[in-house]
């Protein structure tokens, strides 16, 4: 008789390889795909008129229904749930991506047991977190301690309202979108501050105060840097800013205007700091503050904090892509071309949906590249000190952002031909830098001799 231990986590994957593969594929492809399809199908109809038209087409006159607003609210709720789910799934998948990348960078394997490629580890982690004891310290302020993660969650989910996913795929294209996003994402720091205070722990308090100081300071350069693309596009609407750019690199704001190029880096640095990512992870600096503001949390509540941290990376990436890197714009395909394929019917043509899907993928790929950059930075750089963090913000980023702002004031007055020339020059410069980086990497690898990519233990 073969004896297997019940707690051997490897055995499930090894014993049922087909089930493991199916589960992995479901969570890896079907789940995000499902979410994307729902987003794609629901969001274009998410204006009251469009909804009415769709309902009419289905033989149901929503426009004259007594409960019209209620129905509209219900549908919005469903959409909101889908987007929040998207944030949660993204956070989960990113933990796995981050851990695998970190494993490779750190010359170890990383999670590779549950599911194929260890992909199910984030699902396993989520379940584990749910089943853990939700511990509240005896001296803590119970109400605030319980409430704190929800403040952070609100700060995470509200920005998703205006975040675009594709050409017509957005929950609400507010005309103050950028402003709304910066305002609502500041809720996260309320959660940090409340959790630090309510924990009644000195470490948590240190983390919370650091977090408050950091996030509030970095909102300023971030806010000014965001004004650069806003001025160039002449609108605060997220979709409007993307429509003002183009699909090719020299049509992106970051490569069009030298000031926007600088503002892009200022904005990314500031959002790293606002998202508490290394090198600005001071509020939860493990080697200094044990775990910072969430030192006393456990179970589901810490899962919420961690989810906010990881899902926030999507917001950081999506914001930078929207403002500076051309958003969902497809190369060689203009917005008018997409609109022409829509047709006059209530339901758009299949081709139109196809273009929507392409724009969705373009946006997702760009954002993922930035997210991977953030992960890469985290596992490369040490942490800055509090005073250095403040000095960087007030001495360099704020004046720098202001300079970009003033430069752009004049930039919007020069003719469009100058934009094109500087766009080509800047994107050629960026391409040159990338080539140089690749060559340098090759040289470094050659120097240590024998560093190779080992995929045997995937």
């Amino acid at each position: 008789m073969k004896i297997t231990t019940a707690l051997d986590s490897t055995s499930l994957t090894r014993r049922y390889p087909k089930t493991a593969l199916a589960t992995t594929l479901f969570f890896m492809l079907a789940l995000p795909f499902l979410l994307y399809v729902v987003l794609l199908l629901m969001l274009p109809f998410n204006r009251p008129e469009a909804l009415n038209a769709v309902a009419q087409r289905l033989g149901w006159d929503l426009g004259h229904s007594l409960y019209r607003d209620t129905w509209y609210g219900v549908i919005l709720l469903v959409e909101g749930t889908v987007v929040a789910l998207y944030a949660a799934v993204f956070a989960g998948v990113t933990t796995w991506v981050e851990r695998r990348i970190a494993g490779r960078m750190q010359s170890r394997i990383g999670p590779n047991r549950p599911g194929v490629f260890g992909f199910m580890s984030w699902v396993a982690d989520a379940f584990k977190m749910l089943f853990k004891e939700d511990l509240i310290p005896a001296e803590a302020d119970r109400l605030l301690f319980r409430a704190a993660p929800y403040f952070s969650m609100v700060g995470l989910t509200l920005p998703f309202v205006v975040l675009p996913f594709g050409e017509s795929v957005v929950v609400a294209d507010l005309n103050v979108g950028v402003f709304y996003l910066t305002a609502t994402s500041a809720f996260i720091v309320v959660g940090i501050l409340v959790s630090g205070w309510a924990s009644n722990s000195k470490w948590a308090l240190f983390g919370a105060v650091r977090g408050a100081a950091q996030v509030v300071s970095y909102e300023i350069p971030a806010g000014i840097a965001i004004m650069v693309p806003v001025m160039m596009a002449g609108t605060l609407s997220m979709q409007g800013i993307i429509r003002a750019q183009g699909g090719l690199p020299w049509q992106w704001f970051a490569c069009q205007n030298p000031a926007a190029f600088v503002a892009f880096f200022i904005s990314v640095t500031a959002s790293l700091a606002e998202g508490n990512r290394t090198p600005f992870d001071l509020p939860e600096a493990e080697s200094e503050l044990v775990a910072g503001y969430h030192a006393e949390y456990s179970g589901f509540r810490i899962a919420l904090f961690l989810m906010v941290e990881w899902a926030n990376m999507w917001i950081m990436g999506a914001l930078a892509v929207t403002l500076f890197l051309g958003g969902w714009q497809i190369p060689f395909v203009s917005v008018e071309m997409i609109n022409q394929t829509r047709g006059t019917e209530v339901f758009p043509t299949l081709l139109w949906f196809g273009w929507q899907l392409v724009s969705l993928l373009v946006f997702a790929v760009k954002t993922w590249l930035l997210v991977i950059l953030f992960i890469w930075l985290r596992w490369t750089l040490p942490r800055v000190r509090v005073d250095q963090m403040m000095a960087l913000c007030w001495k360099y980023l704020v004046p720098g952002a202001f300079a970009c702002f003033i430069f752009t004031l004049f930039w919007v007055m020069v003719p469009a031909s100058v934009h094109l020339v500087s766009g080509v020059v800047l994107s050629a410069g960026v391409a040159l830098l990338l080539v140089k980086f690749a060559l340098r990497t090759r040289k470094n690898i050659a120097q240590v001799k024998g560093a190779s990519v080992d995929l045997s233990n995937w």
């Binding site: 970190a102 960078m105 750190q106 010359s107 170890r108 000195k202 470490w203 240190f206 105060v209 650091r210 290394t278 090198p279 992870d281 600096a285 493990e286 080697s287 200094e288 503050l289 044990v290 596992w379 490369t380 750089l381 040490p382 942490r383 800055v384 000190r385 509090v386 005073d387 250095q388 470094n444 120097q447 240590v448 001799k449």
Partner: protein, 383 residues
């Protein structure tokens, strides 16, 4: 009854209304073991931090009076588990002086080779965990990977990976196995080229340098006054190395430099110097091992020693350059099988004294850098 140490420490701290007292430890990711740094801070600025040691006290010195001379050797491993080879050697040297034994040359060479390998491995942990304390976790795992290779080599030599128990009174326990020499040389070739990658990875990283340079500068005078030793002393610009200046064992026959702090990135004696001295020492150790392997004499690896040696009444001192500074064993014999007294002076313990003065005015993150730069191993402090 005497007042508990914790209360004695707390009594010395008088926080004002604006200040708080916070315990860095005994459980804290950056204290490198069970030590408590009782810290009075005003926000991020530290007014004073007092190390409260003793949490790991296991009475190792007292045990030395009970287990007989050879029986104490495994306990020396536990004094400094990261550089156990060097701890072994120090105790063996002290007892050999009591017994007036001459160690065979091959054993001396093997001790030097194993000791220097162990020093490299200990320094890998030191620089890696220092990078981790500054917030970069990748260098730590790379350093541990490098250390694993040395652990493999030492396992082949003596069968253990952490607590080696390799030195014996009068020699060493095992001869180098066949083919070991080539493996060591191969590793050293790797090490010499890997240090360059390491420097690109972390030593010269802008943020890392800014975090360490000009932080917690220990002047020459202060380093001597507080009795710092080893790399901590050399980082302040004092060229003192027991291996060179007291020339014990096989060391007189090797040529090597003693790296000292030069203030390359900031001021002489800052945290970056203490870090850099350790990186440079790894290269020097590599030089020593190469010379030792080239000149390794043939012959016995053990002198003739009784199973239960009974040295004449008297006292002896064994001083070695351990990875954490000068390690000094003081052994007193009363002519019986057991030692009358065993006392150990260790580098980590000597580094504790200066922390209270140096911590004044530092920031919290700097205190972590200061502690990490001393390369503390908690059991070495408490014994």
């Amino acid at each position: 009854m005497a007042e508990p140490v914790e209360r004695q420490v707390l009594r010395r701290l008088t926080p004002s209304d604006e200040e708080i007292v916070i315990n860095f430890g005994p459980q804290h990711p950056s204290t490198h073991g069970v030590i408590d740094f009782v810290t009075q801070t005003n926000g991020e600025i530290i007014r004073r931090s007092i190390p409260d040691i003793g949490y790991l006290h296991r009475g190792l010195e007292k045990i030395g009076e009970a287990v007989g001379y050879p029986g104490y050797m495994p306990f020396t491993d536990r004094i400094d588990y990261l550089a156990a080879m060097l701890a072994n050697e120090g105790y063996a040297m002290a007892v050999e002086r009591l017994l007036k034994l001459e160690v065979p040359p091959r054993a001396k060479y093997l001790r030097a080779i194993a000791g220097e390998l162990c020093r490299i491995s200990s320094h890998w942990v030191a620089v890696g965990s220092m990078a981790a304390d500054i917030g970069a976790s990748t260098p730590l795992t790379h350093a541990l990977r490098e250390r694993e290779a040395i652990n493999d080599l030492l396992e082949e030599l003596c069968g253990a990976r952490l607590t080696f128990n390799y030195a014996r009174i009068g020699g060493v326990s095992f001869d180098a196995p066949e083919g070991w020499r080539e493996k060591v040389l191969r590793y050293l070739d790797h090490l010499d080229s890997y240090i360059q990658e390491w420097d690109r990875l972390i030593s010269l990283n802008e943020i890392y340098v800014k975090r360490l340079a000009k932080v917690a500068v220990i002047s020459r005078e202060k380093a001597i006054a507080y009795g710092l030793c080893g790399p901590n002393l050399r980082a302040s610009g004092i060229s003192w190395d027991t291996r060179r200046d007291l020339a014990y064992g096989a060391y007189p026959e090797f040529k090597f430099d003693v790296p000292v702090g030069e203030g390359k990135m900031g001021v002489k004696g800052d945290c970056w110097d203490r870090y850099a001295v350790r990186v440079l020492e790894m290269l020097e150790s590599s030089k020593i091992i190469r010379q030792a392997l080239a000149k390794l004499p043939e012959g016995e690896i053990m002198a003739k020693v009784a199973r239960k040696p009974k040295p004449e009444a008297g006292e002896a001192i064994g001083r070695v350059e351990s990875a954490r500074g000068e390690m000094c064993y003081y052994v007193v014999s009363d002519g019986s099988e057991n030692a009358y007294r065993v006392r150990v002076r260790t580098g980590s313990f000597m580094a504790m004294g200066i922390i209270e003065e140096m911590s004044q005015g530092l920031m919290i993150a700097d205190l972590i850098a200061l502690i990490a730069s001393f390369d503390i191993v908690a059991p070495e402090i408490d014994r």
